[in-house]
């Protein structure tokens, strides 16, 4: 008569499939997972504490490093929150709103390309990884042309953008989104009809809609379970109400469903970028609020008011009314929110970041108990977690 006991193994912080420094302690009965405990905090940098000692403008580069695969979305969420706190949401120019939407959707494409590449690579499809990263290089080229950096862009400012689009980039972006659906067809051709992919994905990582809502899951992971909720449509920000797009909702509550949801989201992002490029008209890209937004350089060197405002904004920052606000945006990973408490001074008294990946990761033990180790890898991929956002 055999005596069985469970074996506890460590899927360490350094592991090719854990998408960052995530430690999973798995209690196994043979190959089946009995209990999974995530251990996080290896990338904790204290961004919330640091932001209490910096002016509102100086926090923007810190937000880049949260979800480092979708940096412009974090910038967008933070800038929208500070603009709402300062009361200048109506004064953001139209051109800045449209460019923000273009960059947000290109960032969504970028993030979903990494998701697909790493998810497929973990399961064994290496070609998809190379193809997705080839397209991602083109988006990173756009980032570099706009802001100077491929990943941590720091492109958005409170009241608008850092700088206008360089010449010729509109044509390049348009060409890119015209051919992107063909590339998505290629990825689908490699994966969707593939029997191995289907066997690894269908029925894995099931989470029902009630459990997902109870556990606070947001984003494509929630929409894959059949809950029709998208902040771009329901609590529209930055002009999203002007664009015509569909929200993908899956029915099967498993990894297959989430895979299809994200593929549709990639196609819809191309559609939104095309509509936004059509809406683009010449104009200013930074709000004309001298106390908050940096004046243009020619005013700084030629006029005394420009010089004084520049000096004051850089050295002291701008003061806001005491109060608190919360703004959530639809990040590729889920709802990323910024809760700012202001005590009337130039620095945020408390900045709280609602981390979508942290809360999505909470659902992992439930989705994985009872499946095999190989399914753990598939579920980590499908939850699309980013440790920068989990640990902050």
């Amino acid at each position: 008569m055999a005596m069985t006991e469970t074996m506890t193994i460590n899927m360490g912080p350094q592991h090719p499939s854990t998408h960052g420094v995530l430690q999973l302690v798995l209690e196994l009965d043979g190959e089946t997972v009995v209990k999974a405990t995530p251990h996080i905090g290896f990338l904790h940098r204290g961004i919330e504490k640091l932001s209490e000692h910096r002016t509102y403008h100086q926090v923007i580069p810190l937000t880049d490093r949260l979800d480092y695969l979708a940096p412009m979305h974090n910038n967008l969420g933070y800038c929208l929150a500070v603009e709402k706190l300062a009361g200048i949401t109506d004064q953001i120019p139209e051109r800045a709103q449209v460019i923000r939407v273009i960059m947000a959707e290109l960032t969504r494409l970028k993030s979903h390309l990494v998701w697909l590449a790493c998810h497929a690579l973990d399961i064994g499809a290496m070609t998809v990884f190379i193809y997705c990263f080839r397209e991602r290089e083109r988006i990173m080229n756009f980032y570099e042309q706009l802001s100077g950096a491929r990943m941590t862009s720091n492109y958005l400012r409170i009241g608008g953008l850092m700088a206008d689009l360089p010449d010729g980039i509109e044509k390049e972006i348009r060409e890119f989104v015209e051919e992107m659906p063909t590339h998505i067809d290629t990825y689908e051709g490699l994966l969707t009809g593939n029997k191995i992919w289907q066997k690894r994905i269908i029925g894995v990582g099931v989470i029902s809609a009630e459990d997902a809502i109870d556990l606070g899951v947001t984003g494509p992971s929630l929409r894959g379970s059949g809950v029709d909720w998208d902040l771009r449509r329901d609590q529209a920000y930055s002009g999203y109400e002007n664009y015509d797009f569909q929200v993908a909702v899956g029915q099967d509550c498993d990894t297959w469903s989430r895979y299809l949801v994200r593929l549709v989201e990639m196609r819809e992002s191309c559609k939104i970028v095309r509509q936004a490029l059509d809406r683009l008209k010449p104009g200013p890209v930074l709000a004309d609020v001298p106390k908050i937004c940096l004046p243009p350089k020619k005013d700084v060197v030629n006029t005394i008011e420009g010089l004084i405002h520049h000096f004051k904004i850089i050295s002291e920052g701008f003061k806001t009314e005491p109060g608190e606000i919360y703004v959530g945006v639809e990040n590729p990973k889920g709802e990323v929110g910024f809760y700012l408490v202001s005590d009337g001074s130039a620095k945020p008294y408390r900045m709280r970041i609602r981390p979508a990946s942290f809360i999505n990761l909470q659902a992992l033990p439930m989705m994985v108990e009872g499946s095999m180790i190989a399914d753990v890898v598939a579920v980590i991929g499908t939850l699309d977690i980013v440790l920068g956002e989990i640990d902050r």
Binding site: I40, G41, H44, G46, E48, K49, L50, E52, H53, R54, T55, Q58, K84, L85, G87, D211, I213, D214, L215, G216, V227, W229, D234, Q235, G317, G323, E324, I325, Y326, G328, E335, G337, Y339, V341, K347, Y349, R350, R352, R354, F358, I359, L361, Q362, D391, R392
Partner: protein, 160 residues
């Protein structure tokens, strides 16, 4: 604003526990007594339909009494409504009941609040640190914790 309908119903049911209602930039905040937080949350979830706990965090108002405020951001998915509930927690006994029985997502969020702020959640199924190592001493997000970390010379230069 229709949020006030829900706040009015909350006030009707828990008249003694609702301490303050305020509105800023079209967002409603309700301050309630911490002793009644679980019945209030249950009422909001089951009767009024706030089935999604977006966020749970703590804020340290050093120098004011009560020192801490636990902030709950709620969302009604069907009605697209947000609501903020705050519960003051004083410094001498920083304890409040856990709402992880109402929304399962509160589990990790309360662990993080304990880890970084030092607010204990009575009845929590798993009260461990989550972001910092288990043997860390202190609660870094409190205002009296140095930003450069413990056991280091205070930073002498400008922070901004």
């Amino acid at each position: 604003m229709s949020e006030h309908v829900d706040v009015a119903k909350l006030r009707e049911k828990f008249a003694a526990a609702v301490l303050d209602v305020s509105e800023f930039r079209k967002e409603t905040t309700v301050v309630v007594q911490k002793e009644e937080i679980v019945p209030i949350c249950r009422f909001l979830k089951e009767e009024l339909g706030y089935n999604f706990l977006t966020d749970l965090c703590g804020v340290d108002y050093l120098g004011k009494s009560p020192r801490f405020m636990v902030v709950y951001h709620l969302y009604k998915i069907s009605g697209h409504q947000r609501l903020r509930i705050k519960a003051p927690v004083e410094e001498k006994t920083p304890r409040i009941d856990t709402v992880s029985g109402v929304w399962a997502t509160a589990n990790w969020l309360e662990r993080e609040c304990w880890d970084l702020m030092g607010i204990t959640f009575a009845g929590h199924p798993d009260p461990r640190r989550i972001l910092l190592p288990e043997d860390w001493e202190g609660h870094p997000l409190r205002k009296d914790y140095p930003v450069q970390g413990p056991e280091r010379e205070p930073y002498q230069g400008r922070l901004s």
